[in-house]
Subunit: 113 residues, 2 copies
DNA sequence: TTCGTATATCCGGATTAACGAATATATTAA
DNA sequence: TTAATATATTCGTTAATCCGGATATACGAA
């Protein structure tokens, strides 16, 4: 399991933090965890925000290199970018654990679709 | 050495990230590291920004609980708040190491004053 | 006291970011 | 084709953030 990564992607510490400095984006990342693939409809349902808002924030996370997306039919699945450098994955993992606690979120299991 | 901490302070993951999501504030934290006390004049010199700007960002870090200040005469010394919870200190340490690399900063040694 | 230095705060203006309804695009099924 | 569903993007409005000169405050020395 656990797909092996290609060469690490450069990510700026400040832009990573800026991404996670928004509660909605932090919530998205917390729902994914570092190893889970989730589809947009689940994220919309779990965070109870308008679809356009979720989609916009996902685009930001993607543009930052923090997450990657995979299309399957009409659905889009998002996950943390496994090609992130070690330090970034470590940071994300630590924050996700605490972030879930603070935001009262559980990692999403199974797919809605 | 290494002062023992009192009870951990609650810090929100999102607000910690928001703090570190600004390059100037990230620079300040990188110059302090997790165990160094630095005075404002050194920070102003090292980051080459107006004193009022530095002071404003330091106030934000302080208000977030990320740093604590100690006055000594006319000088103010700042350091990372040792009472931060474990996860926060871990996150900061990881980001500081990489942040220094990206911003081209060295931890400040010795005092200007 | 007064002066000089170090730091903090104020404030108006500029820039950036977040929002969400409306609309566009992509895909599948019929 | 068309319709239906899932997701992305646009756009105008509102809110938050950043900046830095000017000013205020705190302290030590004289």
């Amino acid at each position: 399991m656990h797909a092996v990564q290609t060469a690490p992607v450069e990510v700026s510490v400040a832009s990573l933090c800026k991404c996670l400095g928004d509660e909605l984006r932090l919530g998205l990342v917390c729902l994914m965890g570092t190893d889970r693939e989730v589809c947009v409809c689940d994220l919309v349902a779990a965070l109870d925000a308008p679809q356009s808002t979720i989609s916009r924030h996902l685009a930001q996370l993607r543009q930052c290199g923090l997450v990657v997306a995979r299309r399957q039919g009409t659905w889009m699945y998002y996950r943390i970018n496994g090609a992130l450098p070690e330090w970034a994955l470590t940071v994300i993992e630590s924050m996700v654990v605490e972030g879930r606690r603070q935001l009262g979120l559980r990692p999403l299991q199974g797919h809605c679709c």
